[in-house]
């Protein structure tokens, strides 16, 4: 079998290295008897770099040598690839979201009162970053606390046309049953029976 051409060998070396390679290290990869001249190596690298025009990689020279990299052009796809899927939201976050959904508009203090513990700022930030909740005003009491409500995005995410589509809440004990019933519903927006806002059905606590 014919030996691969110099640029192709360099391509293989750069791909396998996963780090920048200096000219010297590239040269070291060849047995002494077959070691190319430095100029030939440089020329081969130039040829290789030209080959990559319009491809998914580019050959660049950085401080520590030559390296192959995926050009910025592909960042939209590549960054989606490396997305880290956070495993789960915490119970604290879900409870906070549920309270805002069913009790809106609601202040942070009111959420804390029901939950019995303080609500962390990071939870409120996460919910706002996800565009599920927003501040719609302030309660006219000392401190003027912000009033939170759910957003259009929240409804979209959960496939709800409006808040009335949220499963009605009769009493806390019945929530388990509602949850079980929901599991059976392929289309959550289809079987909405409550035309009144659910929070009116809450027992006073």
């Amino acid at each position: 079998m014919a030996l691969p051409e110099l640029p192709i060998i360099l391509e293989a070396l750069l791909l396998a290295a996963g780090e920048p390679l200096t000219l010297d290290r590239l040269l070291d990869a060849f047995p002494e008897t077959e070691r190319p001249e430095r100029e030939d190596l440089r020329a081969a690298l130039v040829r290789l770099a030209a080959d990559y025009a319009g491809r998914g990689m580019e050959l660049v020279e950085v401080a520590s040598g030559f390296r192959l990299q995926v050009p910025k052009t592909f960042a939209p796809w590549v960054s989606r690839l490396s997305e880290e899927r956070a495993a789960h939201y915490s119970r604290a976050l879900l409870e906070t979201l549920a309270l805002i959904a069913y009790r809106q508009p609601i202040t942070r203090g009111e959420i804390e009162e029901v939950r019995g513990v303080s609500v962390s700022s990071s939870i409120m930030k996460t919910l706002q970053d996800r565009d599920w909740i927003k501040i719609i005003g302030h309660r006219e009491v000392p401190g003027r606390p912000a009033l939170y409500a759910t957003t259009r995005m929240f409804l979209d995410y959960f496939n709800l046309k409006n808040l009335g589509d949220l499963p009605p809440l009769a009493a806390p004990r019945d929530l388990a049953a509602i949850g079980a019933a929901l599991e059976g519903h392929a289309d959550p927006s289809g079987a909405s029976s409550a035309d009144s806002l659910p929070q009116t059905e809450f027992p006073d606590v």
Partner: protein
């Protein structure tokens, strides 16, 4: 073949090895042999058979048995640790050989399986997997033959995909928080209009040390639930302080109360 690949150094344990068992079809250069490199009796037997280009199906059992024994002797001489499996095989070979050499009655010959059959079966089976191991080793192996081809992406931003949430989870969370909230419900305590102490005094005033009063007469329905409770607590408190006594003549009979002297 692993043995054939070994370079020619006829030294064992630092000593030049000169005496070669006459019947071993082993070139002297293979003697560095790492006799202990055999993977067991089957491996050794296969080696002996393959060195002589014999067909497994046609093992000259007497010759092979002799060679095997000589090998064993050599291994013992070199004080190589001899696994028990080698000795078991030696016994088996000896048995096969004796049965093979014994004249078989013509009638039995047809039914009786060749005494070598089980040995052949095991040798073949082992050989199959020896070859499979070689084939496996020959596969292009990651990090030995082929290597990860990667290029660093220029941009390092990591986007976090927020986790999915379904409505049922949300409901479950709400159920939990509401259940918990029930435990925290405040029972507002209003300042009582009638204090128990005050009522205790009133009850004592009503009663007399000589005459019994009907227990029910102590309560005034018009004061409502709270008044009744306060009166009841006042009575209990008075009892505790031994300031009055209750009397019931028989079960379910009216209760009467009077002041203690």
């Amino acid at each position: 073949m692993a043995l054939a690949e070994t370079p020619a150094i006829a030294k064992v344990s630092g000593q030049p090895f000169t005496r070669i068992p006459p019947d071993l079809y082993i070139p002297p250069d293979a003697l560095e042999v790492f006799l202990d490199a055999f993977e067991g009796p089957l491996d050794l037997l296969l080696y002996l058979i393959q060195r002589q280009n014999l067909n497994i199906l046609d093992i000259p059992i007497a010759a092979i048995t002799r060679q095997y024994m000589e090998y064993l002797a050599l291994m013992q001489e070199l004080r190589l640790e001899l696994a028990a499996e080698y000795l078991v095989m030696a016994a088996w070979l000896a048995e096969i050989k004796s049965r093979w050499l014994l004249p078989r009655p013509a009638s039995a010959a047809a039914e009786e399986l060749d005494p070598r059959a089980e040995l052949v079966r095991r040798l073949q089976e082992y050989e199959r997997f020896q070859q499979a191991a070689q084939a496996l080793d020959a596969l292009p192996r990651w990090e030995r033959d082929c290597f990860p081809a990667s290029a660093e992406p220029v941009q390092h931003d990591r986007v976090r995909i927020p986790p999915p949430v379904n409505l049922a989870d949300l409901l479950e969370a709400l159920r939990e928080v509401m259940t918990r909230a029930e435990l925290f419900i405040r029972h507002p305590i209003h300042r009582e209009l009638l204090s128990v102490r005050e009522r205790m005094s009133q009850v004592l005033e009503q009663l007399d040390t000589l005459r019994f009063t009907a227990f029910t007469a102590l309560f005034r329905p018009e004061e409502g639930r709270m008044g009744i409770v306060v009166t009841f607590m006042a009575v209990l408190e008075l009892l505790r302080e031994a300031l009055l006594e209750l009397v019931q003549t028989e079960p379910f009979a009216p209760i009467h109360v009077r002041r203690r002297g």
